[in-house]
């Protein structure tokens, strides 16, 4: 249960995730420049320090790199790296909450597996 309807995770994490989404979907191709801190700050109406924190998170993990005096760029191999990170988080982010909710609803393991199969057949 949550009284707060908004995503209440820290904004810098949401910024980092948004950039990762852009990298995965091809909006920010490898070796291309991403928007500046100012552009992120103005777009999301957030303090530039928060935008910088989100971007630095991706610099630290090698997804982005800085060209001095020019800006931030998507690293070569970033798509594969983001996908790998997300795959590792998939179990915690999706499977565990799914099982928690299923238990609350008295859904059995077999029922869930059949729903997953149904989902795949609609893909």
């Amino acid at each position: 249960m949550n009284f707060n309807l908004n995503d209440d995770r820290p904004i810098f994490l949401q910024i980092a995730e948004g950039i990762e989404d852009g990298i995965l979907t091809g909006g920010f191709p490898e070796e291309s420049q991403i928007p500046s801190i100012t552009e992120f700050s103005v777009l999301y109406k957030i303090n530039p320090a928060t935008a910088l924190k989100g971007i630095n998170l991706l610099v630290d993990t090698g997804i982005l790199y800085k060209k001095r005096g020019i800006g931030m760029f998507v690293a070569a191999g970033a798509v594969a790296a983001v996908r790998r990170n997300r795959q590792q988080q998939f179990y915690e982010s999706y499977i565990l909450p799914l099982i928690r909710e299923a238990v609350n609803l008295n859904l059995t393991k077999i029922e869930i597996i059949s729903m997953i199969e149904k989902g795949f057949s609609n893909e």
Partner: protein
């Protein structure tokens, strides 16, 4: 210019009313501050004292080791957009821009004109004919066009519609990124500035309740939600600053860090506005 403003033991009394009560704090260079407080808490008094509009009863305000009161070289580094409009009512907006550039050498008239275009403020209008919203916009444009290290906004978005508020916040962030300065926003619209400000100052009845980094401030509080009895049991011996009931469910605001074991309860971080309301509601603190 990388000096801070240091406020030491500042007190302002109006007769028996103590508007500011021994306030000490530091305003760092190149930060965006939110100055938050309920009506009559002392926000405007503090801004007027820093900007030499009124005199302190006790205490001092220092900028680069100099007292700022009656000190024009220090005051030239500050600008206050106040709630009141001091321009003659028959003066046209473009004349006000001209006069502002005479009093404030750092005023950028070209930038002011470009902002007037963006807000669709007719610079030929006379100040007395402006609507409440446009009177605020007129003052905002001047404040955004003055390039000094400290800019203070007292209720900057008073009367502005949602579109113009949005435009103001974006322009402020753009300006801050390009020409860093300290911006102090005194506002009641906490939700709107919550993500823009880096630091906050909360005043309650003339006293400082908090003056720190916003994230650090928020990390000192949390909420727990769940079945009322479980929440009540959890809150015993903990510093609970407010609760909300919803049927058999309860949400409690607590200070400190959540216990490692909160089974059956949902723990989350409160947003700034809700925490502000709980902290300034009554005499809990």
């Amino acid at each position: 210019m990388n000096e801070a403003i240091i406020i030491k033991d500042l007190t302002k009394k109006y007769g028996s009313l103590c508007a500011l009560d021994h306030v000490s704090l530091t305003l760092e260079p190149n930060h965006i501050y939110g100055l938050l407080g309920r009506n009559g808490a002392g926000k405007t008094t503090m801004l007027n004292l820093i900007n030499n509009r009124i005199f302190p009863t006790e205490g001092e305000i220092l900028y680069g080791n100099e007292n700022v009161t009656e000190n024009s070289s220090a005051q030239n580094q500050f600008f206050l957009m106040s709630e009141d409009t001091y321009y003659p009512e028959n003066m046209r907006v473009q004349e006000a821009f001209l006069w502002t550039s005479k009093f404030h050498p750092s005023f950028d008239p070209e930038y002011a004109k470009s902002l007037a275009d963006k807000f669709q403020l007719n610079i030929k209008s006379r100040s007395k004919n402006l609507s409440t919203g446009y009177r605020s916009i007129f003052k905002l444009i001047i404040a955004l066009s003055i390039n000094v290290p400290f800019i203070f906004f007292d209720e900057p978005v008073l009367g502005l519609d949602a579109n113009h508020r949005d435009l103001f916040y974006r322009l402020l962030l753009e300006k801050y990124s390009e020409k860093p300065a300290t911006y102090v926003l005194s506002t009641h619209l906490i939700e709107e500035v919550a993500d823009i400000i880096e630091d906050l100052i909360i005043i309650k009845q003339g006293k400082i309740l908090a003056c720190e980094n916003k994230e650090e401030f928020l990390s000192k509080a949390y909420t727990v939600a769940g079945e009322s009895r479980i929440v009540d049991a959890y809150c015993q011996d903990r510093k609970c600053i407010g609760t909300e009931n919803f049927g058999g469910l309860k949400l409690a605001y607590l200070l400190g860090r959540p216990a490692p074991d909160t089974q059956g309860l949902t723990v989350s971080t409160p947003d700034l506005q809700k925490l502000f309301i709980k902290l300034t509601n009554d005499d809990l603190l």
